[in-house]
Amino acid sequence: MKGELSLSCLDIERYLGEEESRVHVLRGVSLDLESGSIHAVVGPSGCGKSTLLYILGLLDEPDAGSVEIGATPISHLRDEELARRRNESIGFIFQFHFLMEDFSAQENVMIPMRRLGQMNETEMRERAAALLEAVDLGDKLRRQSRHLSGGEQQRVAIARALANDPSVILADEPTGNLDTNNSQRAFELLANLVREREKALLLVTHNRFIADACDWVHEMKDGRVIASHPHGERISV
């Protein structure tokens, strides 16, 4: 464990579906993410990895348990306040990059900044350009995202996740849609940026090599974290 606690959850329970089709997706999951650390969540499909990610990202509410950002409990907050916290403190990266197709790379990175509203247009453009430069896309600022390759799009998504300088980055299979080379490159970029900038990164992955490169690996099965390994311990994904 490297730094201060950025995000934590305790005894998270989550059910999905209605009545007969109701599934107990998360069963008492607890996690602590410290700044400067990279955590991987691994496990078979349907074990609750993404659901955990959405709850930690304040996009979904747990049926029981609590989530804290820093030392602040956020379970009781209203939707508007949750949105503000999400905008300020959390960056998301999804498997399918989820960029705005008609927006340029630079405009995509500026979207979270616009909501934050702390910078003027020029400052936002400059910051977006710097972030895209950091992910080696400095020459493609004005290119529409639909005209970028899969690897480039995922790098734009990484830059966007860092737009408001969040303390936590949550990534849902960020390399799942990329080939081996691009996967490796995207992960290394993300890992370097996270370590340089003292962020906490939690990523859901099926990629054994990426999981091995993380500071912590949490194995999930049937809605539970069945094991947590520090860096270096071999696991089977």
Binding site: S45, N87, F98, I111
Partner: protein, 412 residues
């Protein structure tokens, strides 16, 4: 620029064709609304101006006997209303009533008129006409008669007591021109000969086809009336307040008083009905535009479900998502109303130059329009309300979308 407005602009420009169709609906709705209102009110206003300019905004007529209603005990067997008023023909104390009337701030001028039915003859043509015995000076101050002269001169009438002014359509019927002679049959059976000094056209068919103006004293002798006036007509500063003043005058002078609104009630109802009918018809265009916008925005929400989820994951609130779609509606309403107002003004101008030949209730050679800012205001309000209602449902729906449902659908 706020984040929702920025994104709304980007979303709107992405669906240009759909946006353009919505915009066209609003533009035509607003434009046609303005144009039809300008026309229908134009004809109504022309009629009102003409009738008020010829017959006054308020008319005081026969004296009536006070009924002392509070003292009347109705018979048990009688379910009917109390007895009607008793009227006494003519106004005898004209000078005194006019002197008192002028004290009212709303009264600009008043003029006595002796009115009677006569038979007019010229050449081989004979017709029934309405004789208006007037005092030229006071009548000129009270009505638009001088402006209505289309042939001859008013001064010729003023300076010659044996002359008359003949209504435009009546002159046409009798085939007389200024300088011709017209014979008037008095109630005593004698023909009186008058020189036609001028022809007047008020624009109102009923006036132009029947009226003959003569000097009051001559008319009194011709009609053999014991009183000098059968009515007093008033020009008011604020004709809209004529009903209240008429009520007051009735109580004050014990003479029947009638406002122009009461006098022209039937015609005004026709104009009002036409105007409402036009407004309803055109509102349907705006309503249809609203349905179009509803469809466009609903489709937009459905096609942007993924983008909405992304925005929510980046910290955009429900209200921001809702605002994005409401802004799109507002842009359509704002731009559509602006262009619609310009189109409305152009259509109104164009329509006012279209030649038509109306010789019935009104006399006009082209479409009559009114330039009134309220038409533009109400058209814009109508468009904004319709678009807001059309935008609200899709916007609300977008705001209620759960981002997790979309994101989970993509990767689980």
């Amino acid at each position: 620029m706020t984040a929702p407005l920025y994104i709304a602009l980007r979303f709107a420009t992405h669906r240009k064709r759909a946006l353009l169709l919505s915009l066209v609906g609003v533009v035509f709705g607003v434009g046609i609304f303005i144009c039809t209102q300008a026309q229908t009110q134009g004809f109504a206003q022309f009629f009102i101006n003409s009738t008020v300019g010829s017959n006054g905004a308020l008319v005081l007529r026969s004296r009536f006997q006070p009924r002392y209603e509070g003292m009347v005990v109705s018979a048990k067997s009688s379910g009917a209303a109390a007895a009607r008023r008793n009227y006494f023909e003519g106004i005898h104390n004209v000078s005194e009533i006019m002197r008192v009337s002028r004290q009212f701030s709303n009264v600009v001028a008043c003029s006595p008129v002796l009115r009677g039915t006569i038979s007019a003859r010229a050449g081989f043509e004979t017709t029934t006409a309405e004789l208006f015995g007037i005092d030229p000076a006071s009548h000129l101050r009270t009505t638009d008669l001088a402006k209505q002269i289309v042939g001859g001169r008013f001064d010729d009438f003023r300076n010659n007591t044996t002359s008359v002014i003949v209504g435009y359509r009546l002159a046409d019927l009798l085939q007389v021109r200024p300088g011709d002679t017209v014979q008037v049959l008095s109630p005593g059976g004698e023909y009186w000969r008058f020189n036609v000094a001028a022809i007047a056209r008020s624009g109102v068919g009923t006036i132009d086809s029947s009226r003959v103006y003569a000097h009051a004293r001559v008319a009194q002798r011709l009609l053999k009336k014991p009183y000098e006036a059968s009515m007093i007509i008033y020009k008011l500063r604020n004709p809209d307040r004529a009903p209240a003043l008429a009520n007051h005058f009735e109580n004050l002078f014990q003479h029947a008083a009638q406002s122009w609104q009461e006098r022209e009630e039937g015609n005004l109802q026709i104009f009002s009905t036409l105007r409402i009918s036009a407004a309803i018809t055109v509102s349907l265009i705006i309503l249809l535009a609203g349905f179009g916008i509803f469809n466009v925005l609903t489709m937009s929400v459905l096609s942007k479900v993924r983008e909405i989820a992304i925005l929510r994951s980046m910290g955009y609130r429900r209200i921001d998502i809702s605002a994005i779609f409401l802004w799109q509606g507002a842009l359509i309403a704002g731009v559509g109303s602006l262009i619609g107002c310009i189109l409305g003004a152009l259509l109104t101008w164009g329509i006012s130059h279209v030649p038509i030949h109306i010789r019935g209730l009104l006399y006009t050679n082209h479409f009559l329009v009114v330039w009134d800012w309220r038409h533009y205001f109400w058209a814009t309000v109508l468009a904004i309300v319709a678009v807001f209602i059309a935008s609200y449902v899709p916007a609300h729906r977008a705001a209620q979308l759960q981002p997790v449902d979309t994101l989970r659908g993509s990767s689980l």
